[in-house]
Symmetry: C2
Subunit: 403 residues, 2 copies
């Protein structure tokens, strides 16, 4: 992957976006409502949870995405507006309506996202007063405040931005994300918002986002739980002044790679801030019979409670890794499996390497970040899933995060 110039900020790093984060009162004291507004109508792309139980704002965004145009995104934390009955959709629509009126944009071009507890209806008076407050304090450098307002169990806000050159003009891409638990491939309790000032064809934007999400947000897992509210939205407002980008543009691949880079960096930030996580682990399965097998096996290892607690304990327990590969459903012959940690071979052909000490392997597992590679020798497919360990803190957070 090519190198990109990182720049400060997140969703307001590109030209023509203003944002802010305020305390609407849905949470006791922390910021809980974020607003992003584009000066010009933007093209929009989106991807959503595949959970069959979908929150009202997810259903609203899906419908609005057909129009391919967005002017604003409003996001609340503190309540997921999921399993709230017919009222949930009415409240989501009303949220868009209030935002449109107060920001002077067509409510049909307002996208709405929610994150927080399932089953609690939105407190609409608080939502309305929060949007009123937010619409009055939008700033061209307000991305940081917005990133803080969408946090739930996150411990740090998550932003990333890069600058590239297209048609000899600078083009910026920025983004913010939230998510720390209920994280699982194919979208999770995570929200991510990407912006660019590039001019991009709407269909090309969607294809580009779908591909980037497939390689980033859909390759991370914290606990294997998938949420009802996951959403990634990508706005492109064209203010950079480039010629419209699509697959036929000579610099399309530069743009694609930059989108992938921003999405990947944000996804990594989510795993690193995984609930209770003390370690960041890249699990690669190579030599699989098919891409599906590679993904199944990598995901089984990355989601195994036994594997993740061993990592927390600093234990290079490769037996739990090979057991997870065994039950993943992937084709495997254990007498052909190699496993290595940060490139140091632990087992070859399914048996412990005689020339490596457990102490050496334990030293790798004690690192804050390390990689696990499983070579199946069944074919040529490979896949990587990013995950974290399972600690006491995960249990504490989720035992104490009361309904």
């Amino acid at each position: 992957m090519q190198e990109f110039s990182t720049i400060d900020g997140g969703v307001t790093a590109p030209l023509g976006y203003r944002a802010c984060g305020v305390h609407a009162g849905l949470k006791a004291s922390k910021p809980d409502l974020a607003l992003i507004v584009s000066e010009q109508m933007a093209s929009v792309a989106g991807t959503f949870t595949t959970n069959r139980v979908q929150a009202a704002p997810v259903r609203l965004c899906r419908t609005r995405l057909a129009g391919r145009r967005a002017s604003a995104v409003v996001v609340n934390s503190g309540s997921a507006n999921a399993c709230t009955g017919p009222r949930g959709m009415t409240d989501a629509e009303k949220t868009a309506e209030i935002t449109g009126e107060l920001c002077g944009v067509d409510p049909a071009h307002v996208f709405v996202c929610s994150t927080g507890t399932i089953g609690k209806p939105l407190h609409m008076a608080k939502i309305e007063s929060g949007i009123r407050q937010a619409s009055a304090c939008l700033e061209p450098d307000g991305g940081g405040d917005a990133a803080r307002a969408i946090m739930t169990t996150d411990t740090v806000p998550k932003e990333y931005a890069v600058e590239i050159t297209i048609d000899d003009v600078p083009v910026r891409l920025g983004g913010m994300a939230k998510g720390a638990g209920m994280i699982e491939p194919d979208m999770a309790t995570m929200l991510a918002f990407l912006t660019t000032d590039a001019d991009v064809d709407a269909d090309a934007l969607q294809r580009c986002l779908t591909a980037a999400v497939g390689d980033s947000f859909n390759r991370i897992t914290v606990d294997g739980d998938q949420s009802t509210n996951d959403t990634v939205l990508f706005l492109a407002n064209g203010m950079a002044g480039n010629k419209v980008l699509n697959a036929r543009h000579a610099e399309w691949s530069t743009f694609e790679e930059a989108v992938k880079e921003v999405a990947t960096q944000l996804a990594m930030k989510i795993v690193k801030d995984g609930e209770g996580a003390t370690k960041f682990v890249a699990v690669t399965v190579a030599g699989a019979a098919s891409p599906e097998d590679a993904h199944l096996a990598a995901r089984a290892v990355a989601n195994s409670a036994l594997v993740k607690t061993a990592w927390f304990g600093g234990d290079p327990n490769w037996g739990r890794i090979i057991a997870a590969v065994g039950y993943s459903g992937a084709e495997v012959d254990d007498q052909k499996v190699d496993i290595s940690f940060d490139g140091v071979a632990a087992i070859r052909n399914g048996c412990q390497c005689p020339d490596v000490s457990l102490a050496d392997l334990a030293a790798i597992i004690s690192r804050k970040s390390f990689s696990v590679k499983v070579e199946l020798h069944q074919g040529s497919a490979s896949d990587t899933v990013y995950t974290c360990d399972l600690s006491h803190e995960y249990v504490r957070i989720n035992a104490e995060y009361m309904t």
Copy 2:
């Protein structure tokens, strides 16, 4: 299900079985080798892990099961003899050979099981001295010692036995099991050994065991991890003096129910002793479109880290339950879902019941044992999975259980 007369003991409760448990030295100080010997050649049935990575003793048992005859079972804890290369099978065969010689039975009728750390070859000198020691101390009431010798992270030995009447003669069924972690439907790090003094046709015995395991050991989960070594063996030595049992025998269903009862009771003991478990939970999904859907949904709820930590925290968080049903793959319309705890409705039609307080629900979740029922209103299929909560202690045990 009918009532059974429970009797003391486990695998030696039926006539004609002797057993013992000894310290062979595979573990530092605890008993680690169990031996069960039948006075008469027994019919044998077995079920095994579906993990594609299978330990050498599992492969040996599978092969020997074709002969349908068993005289002895030898079990070691402390090493799983999985991922030990070609040496693994040689060691398993040698274990059977030594046992056969020392117990005076045909080595081809000796079954071998192992549990413990993956990847560590058996210490054959210790195995041999352990079998020598065990063969000298077999007792007709040695089942309890055997049950203790197969424990790994178990905190209590697990035995159960019942007596029924067949052909007007008393017939006994007993069993022992081990397992506390790596527990997942379709077999897990669990071993169970059932014995009976009934005379049972070998094919009927296998069908009976397969059905009973499907309703018991395959309906429990602790952490969703599936092991390389899971085995259930069932020996029937015919010493009770009944006429040979098969599906045409008038009292076949009595026998079938008794087998199911012993298997279910042992399975429940495994969940109740789940690593770090503080609560026992029966998760039922009803009104599913198909039996597969019911099982998928019940299993997703029972395996969700978020649901299980909420239970540990005493939180009646139904949002995490419906989210798990949503990603399970089962057909679901969240606006039709009802969820109740010990019969008290929490949500109806996907929305929180206005007439129940969270405090009332929290009081149920604080019980040592409770049930969760999810009604999907999609069809008439139902399934129940038994599980436990996810506590700090689970993390501690598995972070500290070093390779």
